[in-house]
């Protein structure tokens, strides 16, 4: 089997004294497509931030066996300040790392790559528009382009299907299926029904401390976890469940 890109070992974390995640174990492999489900406030975004190295840990370890992988990140819509005066072009460019941190300018090759990315994503015509003037789908496309432009080994999407219509959502899932041939994907979503058919494994992050050893996911199992998400599709899907704790 391939070496894991990211390993969370017994990670506990939270905000101030409030513990949000308790004893979480997760391994992400290069060809994974993990669907992360769970209720509001269950700690999904917090777990994403752990993987990104943005969240200080109370205990446990975050390990990268093959060195820190390149990670593309599409944050939850509520984290984006849509009124900030930044253009689509600048937004997508911000996904690139400059070669020297002390001289943070883009090389000619990188500029060309931004141009090509905008064309591929169908954003070339609106590249000089401020993000505040985009539709929900266009903004998600721009944010996805920002996440992808540095050719990540792991793509993390935190609820990319908010504020977009069903048609865009289907389009997005088509891209993700293709992208998964080249990179690992971790997709956070409330809506297990739509992500169900395409993810390879499922992780349930919720408030109850529970661990499920099997790899079968059913409505009954979700009920045991007190994971109040709607299951529209039925049938066996291999999944992983993360330990979390009760908030009292």
């Amino acid at each position: 089997m391939n070496k894991a890109l990211v390993i969370l070992e017994g990670v506990s974390t939270g905000y101030f004294s409030e513990t949000v995640l308790k004893d979480v174990n997760l391994e992400i492999f290069p060809d994974d497509f993990i669907g992360v489900i769970g209720p509001n406030g269950g700690g999904k975004t917090t777990m994403v931030k752990v993987i990104l190295g943005l969240q200080p840990l109370f205990s446990g370890k975050l390990r990268f066996p093959g060195g820190r992988p390149k990670i593309g990140y599409l944050p939850q819509a509520s984290q984006i300040d849509k009124s900030f005066p930044i253009t689509v072009h600048e937004l997508v460019s911000s996904g690139l790392k400059s070669k020297y941190s002390w001289f943070p300018h883009l090389s000619f090759g990188q500029r060309t790559r931004v141009k090509r990315m905008l064309e591929d994503a169908g954003l070339a015509g609106i590249s000089s528009k401020p993000i505040g003037e985009l539709s929900g789908g266009q903004l998600q496309k721009a944010l996805l382009s920002r996440a992808l432009i540095d050719k990540p080994q792991l793509l993390i999407l935190d609820e990319p299907n908010t504020h977009v219509d069903k048609q865009f959502e289907q389009e997005l899932y088509g891209w993700l299926r293709d992208l998964n041939k080249e990179m690992a994907i971790l997709l956070v979503s409330h809506d297990i029904g739509t992500i169900f058919p395409m993810v390879k494994t499922i992780a349930c992050v919720n408030r109850i401390l529970h661990y499920h050893p099997s790899n079968q996911l059913s409505e009954e199992v979700l009920k045991i976890y007190n994971c109040p998400v709607d299951i529209i599709a039925h049938g066996p899907v291999p999944h992983r469940v993360l330990k979390t704790h009760d908030h009292e």
């Binding site: 990104l52 190295g53 943005l54 990140y73 944050p75 005066p85 600048e90 943070p104 920002r146």
Partner: protein, 279 residues
């Protein structure tokens, strides 16, 4: 007309003009950062806390603007630190520093024996008494800002817009936040000389809001805000001379009038467009 032009023969007026232009330029750059990040309240905290430094410097017989700079920078760094820790509500901390600075300033000025400084000149600025050394300081700081923004434009923009994403790209977000805090404090304190504590914030916001009626591109807001700042402050300076009214107030008045006129034009234009669309 010739009488009007003769004003330019006075050294003090030429200095005032230069100070207005330089202040507009530095306020345009820092103000774009402030308005984009929606941290006008932090600017207010820095401004008023620096008054404590002015008072203390008077009491100790030091240069009041040195005192203001020390207090302003410390306040700016303190606010950034508090917001990073997140344990105290940021707005409460700002409110405390804001009023504490004013209180300290008043107490120290009151305790200063004999000479009572002209408080009005700090509250409302004293652009007509600007001299060559002041101008040199303003010019050097302007050049410094231009260099900083030119070289570090991308990380400054990205850490302002989405600091968490910027961190995932290996940008030293904290370093840039602290750097911008210091530059913000120094810019505000230097502008207090020109327009005073009470009016300084509008130099850092009104030209930006005017510019944002034309563009929502960070890189373009800065030069445009500089132009609107220069035009408003030069008109204000002239009006103050012709009508014999306080200079700083006249500058702020004309900055605001510019904004309102252009806003009105935009509203009318949009209305006309909508009507044409309906037909």
């Amino acid at each position: 007309m010739s009488e009007f032009l003769s004003i330019f023969e006075y050294q003090f007026f030429r200095n005032a003009l230069a100070a207005a232009v330089l202040t507009s330029v530095l306020a345009a750059m820092i103000g774009t950062y402030i308005v984009s990040r929606k941290i006008v309240f932090i600017g207010g905290g820095i401004t008023h806390a620096s008054f404590g430094g002015i008072g203390l410097a008077f009491y100790l017989g030091l240069n009041p603007f040195f005192g203001a700079a020390v207090f302003g920078v410390m306040t700016a760094l303190g606010i950034e630190w508090i917001s990073k820790k997140g344990k105290v509500r940021e707005d409460s901390a700002i409110a405390i520093l804001w009023s504490l600075g004013m209180a300290l300033g008043i107490i120290f000025v009151f305790m200063t024996p004999g000479y009572t400084p002209n408080l009005m000149s700090f509250l409302f600025g004293s652009i007509l008494s600007v001299r060559a050394p002041d101008l040199i300081i303003l010019l050097v700081f302007c050049l410094l800002l231009i260099i900083v923004f030119a070289v570090f434009f991308r990380p400054i923009l990205y850490t302002a817009f989405d600091p968490e994403f910027a961190r995932t790209k290996g940008i030293s977000v904290d370093a840039y936040r602290y750097l911008m805090s210091v530059l913000m404090a120094v810019a505000i304190v230097l502008s207090i000389r020109t327009v005073g504590i009470i009016l300084v914030l509008s130099m850092f916001t009104v030209p930006q809001l005017t510019a944002m009626l034309f563009t929502r591109n960070f890189a373009r807001i800065m030069p445009l805000a500089a132009l609107w700042g220069i035009s408003g402050s030069v008109i204000g300076l002239m009006a103050a001379y012709l009508l014999d009214i306080p200079t700083a107030a006249a500058i702020i008045f004309f900055l605001t009038i510019q904004f309102l006129i252009i806003k009105l034009i935009v509203i009318i234009r949009d209305q006309l467009r909508r009507e044409r669309f309906r037909q």
